[in-house]
């Protein structure tokens, strides 16, 4: 099982979840998956878009309980 860290962005509106992701991801080790919990509807679109623009891997959408979540792997 690979390492998964969690970033809780519940209740935060765009672009805050993407900003928090951009700040947190460089702090985890390369290869680690960061799971972003975000109930803002824009996160579903903007987190994959950020990964594409920044060359990081968007692993996919998931959920923690009722909260949508998005897995991002630090690749560089």
């Amino acid at each position: 099982m690979e390492t998964v860290e969690v970033l809780d962005c519940r209740g935060q509106r765009c672009p805050l979840p993407v900003i928090r992701l951009a700040r947190r991801l460089p702090e985890v080790a390369v290869g680690t998956v960061l799971r972003v919990l975000a109930d803002d509807p824009a996160a579903a679109n903007d987190i994959p878009a950020w990964c594409r623009m920044r060359g990081q891997e968007f692993v996919g959408p998931t959920a923690v309980g009722d909260t949508p979540a998005y897995d991002v792997r630090r690749t560089t």
Partner: protein
């Protein structure tokens, strides 16, 4: 007391000194529209359906407006109906096209990037027991033709709807190829041409087409619904004899006359104007990409509308960006979720998979000058940089 302008009072001319860059929402009225509106107010107030002199004069104006609009669109006058707005025209196109083909089936095929008026009509159709199939687009906002062809060839498809070019990102859609797929399947095609009419040549192969006068410099409150001969279209409204039974209620005839006059005027100069605006859009696309860090300029850079460009600025709040630009006199729109009443990002940007926050749509018109664009491009980087500094994201 509510303020209404009357002769002798000073009308507050909001925004006249500002730089208006939201023609895709509403273009400033063409001077010909103003003149025609005033003339038709004096001469075209009577009900054109009645049998007296004043009514006959109104009928003549309506007939002339219809003939001029039909000639510009390259269709027959009896195929053209005016409606109370572009939105009602889109609703009528979708619901009437489905009603006329209910014996063939109840499936509506549409692109994922249709205008919300079309999507809302699709939701109504689903609520009434029908179904809708949304066809995806690629990263540039272009229709997936293979998926489209498969969708329209499926059993039970009553109508297909495809926007002529994206109203949010400008990408021109492959309407001719999509129409061939529809023809092969025997499915009528509805084209929402609101951003194309009066600016670029219309595609061929459609059965129903709509447009909106305030997008081309006509007054607000006038839509156009074109139903080609032989198309199975049935009014979704209670019976009414106006506009060949396609539009219920009396029209705003002065506005219709003004809309037709403006359309003829803009169509006459459309080729030169498209070339002028397209060069300005090219400049905006390249300059924004070069001078604003972490920006994504979206939409097809070549096969696009001449007057419209959209970009998204990473880590910037779209609503804050709109307000900051407005304070400097720039009127633009945004597809960011924080600028929508539903707090959802634009379905067009979502369908393309491009960044939706910090989003700005700039759309130009006949009054747009090169100096205005230069000023916008000179001030934009500082506006974005200031917002990023305030948000503390300059190190990201």
């Amino acid at each position: 007391m509510p303020y209404l302008p009357t002769p002798g009072t000073t009308v507050l001319r909001v925004g006249v000194t500002g730089v208006y860059l939201d023609a895709a929402t509403a273009a400033p009225p063409h001077p010909v529209a103003r003149e025609a509106l005033l003339a038709a107010l004096a001469d075209g107030w009577a009900d054109p359906a009645r049998l007296y002199t004043q009514a006959r004069r109104a009928r003549q104006l309506l007939d002339a407006a219809r003939a001029a609009t039909a000639e510009t669109l390259g269709v027959r006058p009896d195929e053209v109906s005016f409606t109370a707005s572009g939105t009602t025209a889109a609703h009528a196109a979708v619901l009437g096209g489905l009603a006329g083909r209910r014996r063939a089936g109840s499936v509506l095929v549409h692109s994922a990037i249709e205008h919300s008026a079309v999507l809302h009509a699709a939701r109504r159709h689903e609520a009434a027991g029908g179904s809708a199939v949304s066809v995806p687009v690629d990263r540039l906002g272009r229709l997936d033709l293979d998926a489209w062809s498969a969708a329209v060839a499926a059993p039970g498809v009553a109508l297909a709807a495809l926007i002529s070019a994206s109203h949010e990102v400008g990408t021109v859609q492959p309407v001719a190829a999509a129409a061939r797929a529809c023809a092969d399947a025997g499915v009528p095609l509805y084209v929402d041409a609101a951003q194309s009419v009066g600016r670029v040549p219309l595609p061929d192969g459609w059965s129903v087409l709509t447009a909106s006068a305030h997008k081309w410099g006509g007054p607000p409150g006038v839509g156009v619904l074109v139903v080609r001969k032989g198309t199975r279209w049935e009014s979704p409204y209670p019976e009414d004899e106006r506009e060949s039974g396609r539009t219920p209620g009396v029209l705003d005839l002065p506005a219709v006359v003004a809309a037709a006059a403006a359309l003829r005027a803009v169509a006459a100069g459309a080729t030169a104007e498209a070339a002028r605006l397209s060069a300005l859009v090219d400049r905006i696309r390249s300059t924004v990409a070069a001078t604003v860090p972490d920006v994504e300029v979206v939409g097809d850079p070549v096969d696009r509308l001449p007057h419209l460009v959209t970009f998204s600025c990473l880590y910037v709040d779209g609503e804050a960006l709109l307000h900051a630009l407005d304070r400097r006199g720039f009127a633009v729109s945004s597809g960011s979720s924080c600028t929508s009443s539903t707090l959802r990002p634009s379905h067009v940007l979502e369908a393309m998979g491009v960044l939706s926050h910090g989003n700005v749509r700039v759309s130009l018109h006949r009054d747009t000058t090169e100096a205005e664009v230069t000023r916008f491009l000179a001030e934009l980087p500082e506006v974005v940089a200031t917002l990023r500094t305030e948000a503390g994201v300059t190190d990201l």
